[in-house]
Symmetry: C2
Subunit: 390 residues, 2 copies
């Protein structure tokens, strides 16, 4: 058995970075910027007023000074003349500063009678002028790789980048495996349960930016599993779920072996999720996840999400590790890393009482996984532990 | 001017809860569960083995005990007979426990010769049996309202709920307003800039679960703004951006007034974002956001995101408030609440040096907004402050 870190390193070796494609800016949020975006213009492109008021020469600004108003500058419609001594231009937020003016007296500090302006309050030292390029200048970059946030998208718009180079979304095939499974909405037989892993994993991987194809459930026969794996043709990552314990994993091994899989590893020193396997199958990477619902979802968080982020080009694809004090003690850990379903509150963090890997309700009510290294000693209330937010 | 809390209360009064609609489970992630989901079955529906091994009677389990293997129970294909004293059934993870058996000796603790089984290691006290209903039972609920996570979706699948009642997505119309604006990809005139707010806000509101319609830019004329507002017909929330300062807000006020807007408030004691206005326009709520890019995005986070969550039915729609120690001092705050662009690191939090509301680069590189109440005194390094994660 190998460690979690070793397994991740093997997984990352199985894939290549995704190609680059171009998407419209309105579809770019959440996508991974694949090449630096470079500003082709200054923002603002001209010195602009940051307030509504009157544009004048700063040397003339003092309480009780009087100016003649010679025109107006609005956003999008600047004043074309030049401000001379004793003159002022009515100006609105975002308007270009008129030539000759370098100070905006805010409206609240003035009194206007027809075209005569008086500064009634002592203006502060602030010019209320935004210099050209104060937000960004030509050549400034939004650096790739970077998952684009709403604010990033606004910035790209301001940079006038209507089409954005992003990493192509990894296409993931999900194959549940087992005679015991039926799809939601079907009527299960007496020995059957509802397939839940594919639905949870689809949502999880789509959140990271993958495109997910949910394939038909593969039965515990060579022909059924072969058919499902053939349907996965053309995807970047094939994930089988279930059949991952001692007995029936043989089938996944047998069928993928017959299809030419090169196995990278089998079994990881962790729980839940020990019977993880991975390799290459044709042009795709392949991961065999365990079938217990919680094991499948935890392995999705610990292995598949980082792998997808790595495929998308993120420099640091590993889960964020946080720390918090325990609000309840933990027993000594065994020889495998343990990812314990837990609840993080303002006071600290506590592991769920029942860590059985079949309990979806416990997982759904958890918001964190406490990470316990192999052989971690017993921990007391108040001890600081590592966790991964869910 | 009213406070941020007062403004939010007014906003919440402008809307009604969204209708309920049904979506397919595969599309339910990220949607707001609108009614409790109730389990119509137990999970597991039968006592099941949690390991690969041999199902026997617990009273007979001891090291060196010998059993006759009488059959096999696999997931989806249980054993139909009854286990009698001295008998064992080969069993795989997830298989129903055979009648008469209440203990699974794990495979690693046994030795099998043809149909004879010997327990070679002393088995622990753990039965390795999952009782029927240990995950959930008939009548157990996933309680609404709740934004559905990937794990929730897996749980709903396991509950055999193929169609999920969720809140209808609020439809939001975005109208940028101003002669200075052109769309990304266009060539701006000498006094013009690129419209960026609508792109950033669209991404932000879609993240919360809204459907966003980006309407044509409204020019600074009555007819252009009227046309844009008429295009917003049928939406739940109309958002105008820009024209929100002293001078040209008159136009938004004039045009929406002519269309029958009932104003709820105008101006909020905050920065950035003071010139926020809101009301009802026909069947829709309407918000006028300020036009400075950072003001628009901050008001999106502080007002529109909570409003959308409230429309979707979330009981606690307000932004999450966290605390962190300052890594740099802050000057005294003025009479308005201040939402400062900031960076949260492992060490603490620090406000960006330039808080001008035009700086999209500063916003895009921030991951938090420090929340400073009106009149907050100067703060030292090490003082704890409130912040909203971005």
């Amino acid at each position: 058995m190998i460690s979690v870190d070793e397994a991740r390193a093997h997984l990352f070796d199985l894939v290549s970075p995704q190609d680059v494609e171009t998407v419209a800016l309105a579809q770019a949020a959440g996508r991974m910027l694949a090449r630096d975006a470079v500003a082709m213009r200054d923002q603002p492109p001209f010195a602009a007023s940051s307030m509504d008021g009157y544009a004048v020469k700063s040397a003339e600004v003092e309480q009780h000074a009087i100016f003649k108003i010679i025109g107006e500058a609005a956003a999008g419609n600047g004043f074309s003349g030049t401000v001379k001594p004793g003159q002022a231009v009515r100006i609105f937020t975002g308007a270009p500063m008129p030539d000759g003016a370098d100070f905006v007296v805010i409206q609240e500090d003035t009194d206007r009678r027809d075209d005569l302006l008086t500064i009634t309050e002592a203006p502060g030292a602030k010019s209320n002028v935004r210099p050209a390029g104060v937000d960004f200048g030509i050549g400034d970059r939004l650096t790739a790789p970077r998952r684009l946030s709403p604010s990033d998208v606004a910035l790209l718009a301001a940079m006038n980048i209507p089409d954005v180079p992003v990493s192509r979304q990894p296409v993931v095939a999900l194959i549940s495996n087992g005679d015991e499974l039926v799809m939601p909405g079907d009527t299960p037989g007496p020995d059957q349960i509802i397939a839940s892993n594919t639905f949870g994993l689809k949502a999880l991987f789509e959140d990271v930016g993958a495109q997910v194809r949910m394939l038909p459930i593969a039965r515990d026969t060579t022909s059924s599993l072969t058919t499902a794996l053939e349907l996965a043709s053309g995807t970047d990552l094939i994930i089988t779920i279930g059949g991952a314990s001692v007995g029936d994993h043989d089938l996944v091994e047998e069928v993928t072996g017959a299809l030419g899989m090169e196995r990278a590893f089998y079994k990881v020193r962790m729980r839940p999720g020990k019977p993880l396997m991975a390799g290459r199958l044709g042009k795709a990477a392949m991961i065999g996840l365990p079938g217990n619902p919680v094991s499948a979802m935890v392995c999705g968080h610990i292995f598949v999400v980082p792998l997808l982020r790595h495929m998308l080009g993120l420099a640091n694809p590993l889960p964020e590790i946080c720390t918090a004090p325990l609000t309840a003690p933990l027993p000594e850990n065994g020889p495998r890393a343990h990812y314990m379903r837990a609840t993080r509150t303002g006071d600290g963090i506590a592991a769920a009482g029942n860590q059985d890997s079949s309990l979806l309700r416990v997982l759904a009510s958890s918001n964190a996984l406490i990470v316990r290294p192999p052989g971690d000693p017993a921990r007391d209330t108040g001890d600081t532990v590592d966790y991964i937010p869910l």
